[in-house]
Amino acid sequence: MSFRQASVLPGFGLTFGFTTFFLSAMVLLPLAAMVLAAGSMHWHEFVHVVFSTRALDSYRLSFGASFLAAAINLVFGFIIAWTLVRYEFPGRKLIDALIDMPFAMPTAVSGIALTTVFAQSGWIGRFLEPLGIKVAYTWLGVTLALTLISMPFTVRAVQPALLEVQHDLEDAAETLGAGRFYVFRRIILPTVLPALLTGFTLSFARAVGEYGSVIFIAGNLPMKTEITPLLIVIHLEQFDYQGAAALGFVMLVMSFTVLFAINLLQAWGRRRQLRAANS
């Protein structure tokens, strides 16, 4: 097989050449710079930066809060997608359009607005304060910001999957006496599970790297409410480029590992489903 199949259309050389050149210059070269900067450190220096208590605490917050946010979105994203697909109510179309708001909204705007709403004197914060729940300037606030900015991923992943659930199967099952929960577990969940996992993955990946919305609500106390991207910025501000590159490298490796693991899980789920369908 040759590099490409023959076609009557012109312009492959031009467009392919420009695309790969621009991609290399804009994305691949800068990434190589980071890997080399991290790689040029002494081994014990690298370990010192990457495994310092402050760095470890920041990973725990960044990855923990992102995981929690993705999990929250798994539940609420499913409920919202279900509501939008299955029910008719006034304002449904408007709400459907508004779901993408966190994507369109600049993160700094989301950050200052969320902080204001959930601060002690804010619209919602003032009701949580007497209950002893502090959101702004705690890990809860970090999780909340990450939940907001990654919310559309799950909803948009699950909506098309829910449309594919076969109503006649549901109706048949109910006619035959299956309970609502049984129908959900055996018919609805298997159909939307891959979409839910995709939504979870995308939410998590976006949340781990998020900076703008978090730094306003986090309070940014070292070892407590300091996310890894902020720690990178702090290293850069002290002109410690290598330390920043090392942390960035660790972040990329960790998020790619998580994404890879979830992809494996998904492939395993598909195989299991196929086997179940064939037997």
Partner: protein
């Protein structure tokens, strides 16, 4: 992306299910959804405008008389005016190569194009500091030749270009692929040149996808915070974009100022969603 729009809601189609249990579940789902969205989406959205107008229209208007604010708005517009066209040319080129031809390693190329979406904006900004910063690869050379990229306009544009890199390509590749090559092949066979075919056949075919991609690219370019924050140096009136200006005003407890600038970007976001809804109504569907 919106999928609920053209399909009639299921509960209108299915008779015999309006039992009290269904009614309770329905009520529960709708109220949980609305409460969640009201708390995390609508309340922050409303806050932006309430805070911006907290001291009246005059105080709001005064924010935009400040030269630093005007400079920030001008810088943001300038950045978007450069970044969006460049990424549009790239997106068109990538979509033509990937959707119109079969070649080895195509999936690798598609994955690499999406890569910036998986990278933290802060890391994106850092990449350019590592290349062009004072202690970076080209730092000394740039200093000797008197070119500043980091803490200057070129750095802001490069970082913005990186984070918005995939937006147009992502919309166009699946769309061009789905629409197929038949018309283009007919045009070429009948003797039209490559450019003529592109401008008269392909471009009209994909125009809504193109508009959608450009609008998304523009929204992200104007709103980008993390990547730009790393390379900008935060020099007032000089290298401050609108999102960075919001941060400075907010940290100075100038809430009217911060939320007034934020209200402009919020309007931009609402406009972006409006265009998206319109484009979807033309029949073009995102993925």
């Amino acid at each position: 992306m919106s999928t609920g729009a053209r399909v009639p809601p299921a509960d209108a189609l299915r008779p015999g299910q309006h039992t009290w249990r269904h009614a309770i579940v329905r009520w529960l789902f709708i109220s949980v959804s609305l409460t969640f969205l009201a708390a995390v989406l609508l309340a922050p959205l409303a806050t932006v405008f309430v805070m911006a107008f907290a001291h009246g229209v005059e105080a709001y208007a005064r924010v935009f008389a400040d030269p630093d604010t005007v400079a920030a708005i001008r810088l943001t517009l300038l950045t978007a005016a450069v970044v969006v066209p460049v990424n549009t040319v790239f997106g068109l080129s990538a979509a033509w190569a990937i959707a119109k031809f079969e070649f080895r390693g195509k999936s690798v190329l598609v994955t690499l194009i999406d890569l910036p979406l998986a990278i933290s904006p802060v890391i994106a900004g850092m990449l350019f500091v590592l290349l062009f910063g004072l202690h970076g690869w080209f730092g000394v050379w740039l200093l000797e030749h008197g070119v500043s990229i980091i803490f200057a306009l070129p750095g802001i544009m490069l970082a913005t270009m990186f984070v918005t890199f995939p937006y147009v390509a992502r919309e166009l590749i699946p769309l061009m692929h789905q629409l197929g090559n038949d018309e283009e092949e007919a045009a070429i066979t009948l003797g039209a040149g490559g450019w003529l075919t592109f401008f008269r056949v392909t471009l009209p075919k994909v125009r809504w996808g193109l508009v959608y991609g450009m609008v998304l690219c523009n929204a992200r370019a104007m709103g980008e915070f993390g990547a730009v924050s790393v390379v900008s140096g935060h020099i007032r009136g000089l290298t401050n974009t609108m999102p960075l200006h919001i941060e400075i005003l907010y940290n100075e407890y100038n809430f009217v100022g911060a939320f007034a600038v934020a209200s402009l970007l919020t309007l931009l976001a609402v406009l972006t969603l409006g265009v998206k809804t319109l484009v979807e109504r033309t029949g073009y569907r995102g993925h």
